[in-house]
Symmetry: C2
Subunit: 137 residues, 2 copies
């Protein structure tokens, strides 16, 4: 399939995590607090974010390999080779990260969050609310 679509970062992660080797596998496995620094042109999109919100951050894992289709899960050679669509490996054809985080603080375009395993500089693509029960939507 030849068509592609261009994603444009709406912000960046600012984190003490400097590289992949230092990052935990998932946000609830010991990830630090981090900041998401948004671009000024999405100010209106973020205006209703609030402290205490649980949201899903979508990131572009720009240091991943897009050629990888099979991995040993969690980089542990004792785990059998597994197709990446059955794993959360960052290495995959479209390396989009999903991170469920809680908003701790908002200061203008900067949002501090708990439990983000993305490394410093990672582009942010989107923010979505966690969906509650149907009756509360």
């Amino acid at each position: 399939m030849d068509d592609t679509f261009a994603v444009r970062p709406v912000g960046r992660v600012r984190s003490p995590l400097a590289d992949r080797d230092a990052a935990p596998r998932q946000g609830d496995e010991g990830a630090p607090e981090a900041w998401v620094v948004f671009e000024p042109d999405v100010t209106e999109a973020m205006r209703d974010l609030a402290v205490g919100d649980e949201v899903i951050l979508l990131t572009w894992l720009d240091r991943a390999s897009r050629e990888v289709l099979v991995v040993h899960p969690r980089s542990d050679l004792r785990n059998p080779p597994t197709g990446v669509f059955s794993t959360r490996s960052p290495d995959r054809p479209n390396p989009i990260g999903l991170h469920t985080v809680e908003i701790l603080e908002i200061a203008a375009l900067e949002v501090r969050v708990r439990n983000l395993e993305a490394i410093d500089g990672t582009p942010v693509l989107d923010v979505k609310p966690v969906l509650g029960p149907i009756a509360e939507r």
Copy 2:
């Protein structure tokens, strides 16, 4: 921010839903069964998908408007205008859809799923497993 990244569809949705007006707001609000038809070059990535798996499909909502930053949630004018990062509106800067679906059938490159509200022809970007408790990863 000037840099962009190119996402490349790994498949397409085949669904009886022909347009946005016919689609339910979310997959668990009356969406039909649908098929995801994968590209041959991701055969290895999908090889461990299995009937009964609950997975997250990521799609590119190619009929969305990327200029919209504020919406009335659920297209109901009685709902106050809300920044799109606090809504699941398809209209947003990077229109990536998240869909939690159950795999019902697999036939070579075609995967039948329950509860998919994406419309016919929607590009599919990725498939990820739903994360269980930490001890089971």
